[in-house]
Symmetry: D2
Subunit: 342 residues, 4 copies
């Protein structure tokens, strides 16, 4: 049995842990051989392979990123792409393929499975917005990095009677903002799922200053004001050169709060620091277990499935289930954070 | 409504997060008043109270330990203890009591509930061995601390061609060893649930040295050799003064491996470092949600229950369910770690 | 003897450690009394005082920020400011004042000392650009935070064949960039002391991609291109609203590199995360020793001096020496980093 | 020019940073070739070499341990050892040797230099007890790890009204105890340089319990009671089996304090965790600069020297200066810590 492995989409702490677990169990328990495809779907598309054995996966568990590299290549958007992939899989004698990735990568996997390719998927997104699984690996690492930044910013906010706005990742779903905001003791958390009212935000800010503490606002990069919300600086506006402004919602929010409340406000945009580096224990454990179960699914011939965490169990669900629709923050969960607002 | 709160047993990162969430929601949403009882069950027993309001819980979220202090006092082992507690609760006008603790603390809570006291429990143990809940807070912090130590020890092991034995907490259950061992890339993990064969351990050690890497062995403090296992140094043996030896299983195992394999071996006993200090994001989030739901259970008059994590939901289960029997590492889960042995 | 203490300017990890050491030794060894002035020079200017004794300084050693809060108020820019300060010091029976701060705060201290106020200074700046001392506290913490971010970004850069630009603090001096760049293994470090040539930067970027690694560029916020350097996006340009653009050198550099090399480039602006939170061991040790020596200087009547680190000794230098001119990165030190470029 | 490199003695965070800097500058600026000798002096003794070029040193900067491995082999204790080394250096065409190590490794280097071998030394010890240099790399990392452990233990001590004893490295010198004790806010620090009075220690413990806080005692592994100090458990005593007891000074001190004060006391022995893993920014910077200067010393033919930190400069001192006598904690520096006792 020869098994191909690839990683697609944005990098995410834990990818290497998945690869290592797949290879270790595959070789030790099942006697399989492995082929690494580089740069996501570009690997099988352009037949870029790397050796993948016990030696290659030694020592990679604590390392962020992916030894197989990644890309956002989508073979369905390239003419003849799917055929190329089938040819290259055949040429390499691949019996099964393990695809590790997010919505896009698994979306391709889903379609390929329908076309008869033996694919097993492993879900990956630091945003935690894939359906079908309680959590995805990478998310816990991102939340801890954001929380540690918030912890640090509390003291600077208080020393200067200042508002600190922390922009975290999350274009469509507010999971990182919600969890890091709760864990970091934020006074306001803004998520894409619920457009915010700038007046209400400023009221929380002012309420907070009545204590001896200073407000921290955690905002998803995808958060937006309610329609008609009177923000001076709007999303997507152009600068003098006709380009979209570089500043995101964090910068704009800080400026707006400063203008409205007269309190000094500063934004911190955490950016890519959230997705790099060594994974937390939770992410290493989850990623390892996803890997162990993915290769077991290959052995069982259980193709077209994706690994998922349910409670403390790793289960297999149809690929389509994980990629059908985004998992969003519910109003009930958001209400939990609101207890701590102001 | 006046609600008492106490924390019992060993300290655990996240206790303050529970207290804060209980108090914040209780005051803000339900208009309750709170009384803090100090030192676990000793508080209501000896009527030691501390003020507990919004001011007392500010800034405590990231702090380890418990602002209410703790003890291992068991009122059922003290004559007239239960009556004293009832009297003191009445004297303080307490309508309901939230007890945050492990097996012992919640065991007392269970019996008091049977005797008509309005108790709600919040489970706490860094060992993660309470039934009824997927995880307890404090566990994730302990596992991360252990993992970071293991990460550090890998380089020292390799530089010196040396065996490193890491003893972690877990008297009865091997959860910390299992999770930190998997996350840290240990070459052997030994847990109380499965007595170990010292010959097999030494074989793994020797196999590991055939690579360019050096072995790390993670062992629960409660791990024991198989009966008849020929360990020179036995558990519980006395020293020259008739006291039980200070050295635990970690020290003894390192010595034994050194004697048998001729390889230098060193033990590191992580000890109390695992249970102190600031909680991880996961633990702050879980503890906060336990707190929010505990005070909601009080509001609902849902006494005799304990909070539990199931997937991503916080549910209420009968107190007896969480304390009836220990949750142990299953053979299936242990087998997952074994993939990486040697 | 009554001693006033204040902290001015931007917050900096270690301020609380100084305050604690001053108060602990002052009370325990010399029997002094203390008065805390809040918000930097605004405290004595507006007579805002807080109690300052052993109780107030307990537990503050590991905490970032300053319990005395801070501001950038300059009494010499306020009519009658100096007289107000003298009056308020007299009204509070202050015999000596310890001012903890950077160039501005110590500049005021220098002038007040000339006017006969008994002042002792403690230097503080995360930028490390104060003359007269080998290091200032806060700097080591900032460098470690930046280095940890760079460590994380390496994996994300490599997984995506991407350039990562990390903007760190340092308006006038490149110490944080230099030290974190060396410690983080950056491939290019850009500092304010040496205008950069964008062509050379792009050559390093391209050279790096010829290995299996991806480039990380660390840039001080105050770094600038050489005159006539053909950067599309210039410093200080206005946006559609006539405001200075929000994006700093990091954003602009990433865009420029992307345009020129065709390689994807992303910027991370670390911002205020660098100056908040718990200090490193070095900073706690240095700040504590500065505090111990500052109160000893008060006892010795050695006013008009500032504490300074020389090797492993804390010495006293004239205040003017520390504030006379900025300490800049020398060409020799910069050349050390250049060994690793490309 | 062919240059050999070896690392000897206990591992220490920063060794890889030295190796990398030596090789990078040596190849890039001077066009040298390198040979790595494995396992300290055993390498040239038994002619165990490894390739050492730009590829081998990529990515090793943040990694603890040493890619050249280490040992405590001393060629002067092996018959014909020195001749073997000379032969093997000649056989490999080695023009100069860079030896990175502590007292023992540099002691050998000193003697070899006297015998005409072209040696340059780089000092290394986490204990910081080498003369001639302000600091050695590895020390800052060890101190930070110890401090973080102490930070964690504060909360557990307070929650349980308990004494925590933290044993840190330092057989002959108390630098790690002193720095981590000051940085961690310890209530007592015990170092080898000053035998301790157990009565005085217990008085500090009792004084501390009169506040709302609990005592943390930091003790060097080499600390000893004053002669005649009435410790029940003496150093080096034998157990029932005629072996030296496993428990060190930390365990014994905790037991003694518990017996005398009636307060619960627990020991944590940090052990090898202090010397493994990724270096701090300070250590990476210092190690890198030592490496850069060591290869410059080779170029200058400045043999028989050792690199040393003086203030912020790296200077060269005669090898004998660094290894002649241990650098110990002075009474003046110890007195600084005493301000915070009790």
């Amino acid at each position: 049995m020869r098994v191909g492995v690839l990683t697609g989409g944005g990098d995410c702490p834990g990818l290497n842990a998945v690869i290592r677990a797949v290879v270790r169990r595959g070789i030790k328990e099942y006697g399989y051989e492995f082929v690494g495809f580089r740069d996501g779907w570009r690997g099988p598309l352009e037949n870029i392979t790397v050796p993948l054995g016990v030696d290659q996966v030694r020592g990679i568990l604590p390392r962020g990123g992916t030894i197989l590299k990644s890309s956002r290549t989508n073979p369905f958007k390239i003419e003849g792409g799917v055929e190329k992939i089938k040819e290259n899989l055949a040429a390499n004698g691949i019996d099964a393929l393990i695809a590790i990735g997010g919505e896009d990568t698994l979306g391709v996997a889903t379609k390929l499975a329908d076309l008869g390719v033996n694919v097993v998927g492993v879900p990956k997104t630091i945003d935690n917005d894939l359906s079908g699984t309680d959590f995805t690996f990478g998310f816990d690492t991102a939340v801890n990095i954001a929380m540690e930044a918030i912890d640090r910013l509390h003291t600077t906010a208080e020393s200067h009677h200042r508002v600190m706005v922390v922009e975290v990742m999350g274009r469509h779903a507010g999971w990182i903002a919600l969890h890091s905001g709760i864990a970091g003791g934020a006074n306001v958390v803004l998520v894409p799922e619920k457009p915010f009212d700038i007046d209400a935000v400023c009221k929380y800010v002012e309420a907070r200053f009545e204590t001896n503490y200073s407000p921290i606002i955690v905002v998803s990069e995808g958060a937006v004001p309610v329609e008609g919300g009177d923000m001076t600086l709007q999303s997507g506006e152009l600068d003098a050169f006709g380009h979209v402004r570089l500043g995101g919602i964090g910068d704009r929010l800080a400026k707006e709060i400063e203008d409205r409340t007269g309190k000094e406000a500063r934004a911190v945009v955490l950016g890519h620091v959230q997705r790099g580096g060594t994974p937390t224990a939770f992410d290493r454990w989850l990623a390892t277990r996803f890997g162990l179960q993915a290769i077991a699914a290959v052995r069982d011939g259980d193709f077209g499935t994706m690994m998922a965490l349910r409670g403390t169990d790793i289960v297999r669900v149809p690929l389509i289930e994980g990629t059908g629709e985004l998992k969003l923050v519910t109003p009930e969960l958001y209400a939990e954070a609101e207890v701590f607002f102001g």
